[in-house]
Subunit: 166 residues, 2 copies
DNA sequence: CTCGGTGCAAAGCTTTTGCATCCGC
DNA sequence: GCGGATGCAAAAGCTTTGCACCGAG
């Protein structure tokens, strides 16, 4: 699950960041980083927290939030707000830059890449006199996948979907 | 402030929508629509609610939320989540389709338009077998505007910024 | 008259904060 | 040992929900 070679690289970057910012290298911070890089796809804070709890790792949500902020700041993790009031995160080192496609029916998240977006970004930045740091592009639609309907969720997705075992 | 000719058109669309869905044409719904179309730029639920309260219009937040959902559904209003946990809205009938540029320092919202995005959308939709219904593109950056620094907000923007007069 | 819509307040969910304790440096 | 970081719980902020009442059809 966890690519050790990649993770060592990522850890180095995080250490360098923490040192530059004069922040402490606590075990929690590295545990959270490791958990993130052993995951696939997108996740939210609660999923990450529950995963760690289920591995009997003692963490608090506060620390998860705090560490995610740091990881986003040093570009090891990307934060998304896919239209819902729930931040989603994604590991971002060593993976190709990409944008997202969201199925409004089954909430599947797909990824795609188009070099023209970079051109648009550069041009708009220049035209509008803006130093563009990053962007977010999401296409919302319906996938023609036949399994799509089966995954429909109720309109309100505001309920805890995960539970701590035991 | 309010373009009456445009508003009559918009009202017709809303009426048609309500009739098609067999929903009632309540005065609150039209009052909210009117308030939205007499505003410029982007707003959040609280701003809209406070505006109406200050005009001594008796509405509840619940109705504002409910009506906004309807207006988004019939494409008279667009909903955005600019990275924060706070939905922003914008009237969308009779205005050119556009995307957004956000200053991470002063939180100014600018708009731009690039026809190439539509091409990307069409191509990605076909490639990924997706019926794309709409999209959201936001460039985050720093405006080179000299007045920018003056508007800095504290990191936490989670506080009610508006008050009901009287 | 009916029942969908509204206002109000309470509840729900995500995220932030306060504070005592812990531990990296 | 000092002071930043953590865990826990409480608080804050946006949004949804329950319920009694109102009013559009």
């Amino acid at each position: 699950m966890l690519d050790n070679k990649l993770f060592e690289e990522v850890k180095k970057i995080f250490v360098a960041y923490l040192e530059k910012k004069e922040l402490r290298k606590t075990p929690e911070r590295f545990a959270i980083l490791e958990e993130i890089y052993s995951r696939k796809d997108h996740f939210d804070v609660e999923e990450l927290y529950i995963s760690m709890k289920n591995k009997n790792y003692r963490v608090s949500r506060a620390t998860v939030y705090n560490t995610l902020d740091l990881l986003v700041d040093c570009d090891l993790v990307t934060k998304h707000q896919f239209g819902k009031n729930l931040a989603q995160y994604e590991k971002s080192y060593g993976f190709k830059q990409h944008d997202h496609l969201l199925c409004v029916e089954c909430h599947k998240v797909l990824e795609f890449c188009d070099p023209r977006l970079q051109q648009i970004q550069d041009m708009v930045g220049e035209l509008m006199k803006f130093d563009i740091l990053h962007h977010s592009l999401v296409f919302y639609g319906q996938c023609t996948n036949p399994t799509c309907d089966g995954k429909k969720e109720p309109k309100s997705t505001q309920k805890r979907k995960y539970e701590i075992e035991d």
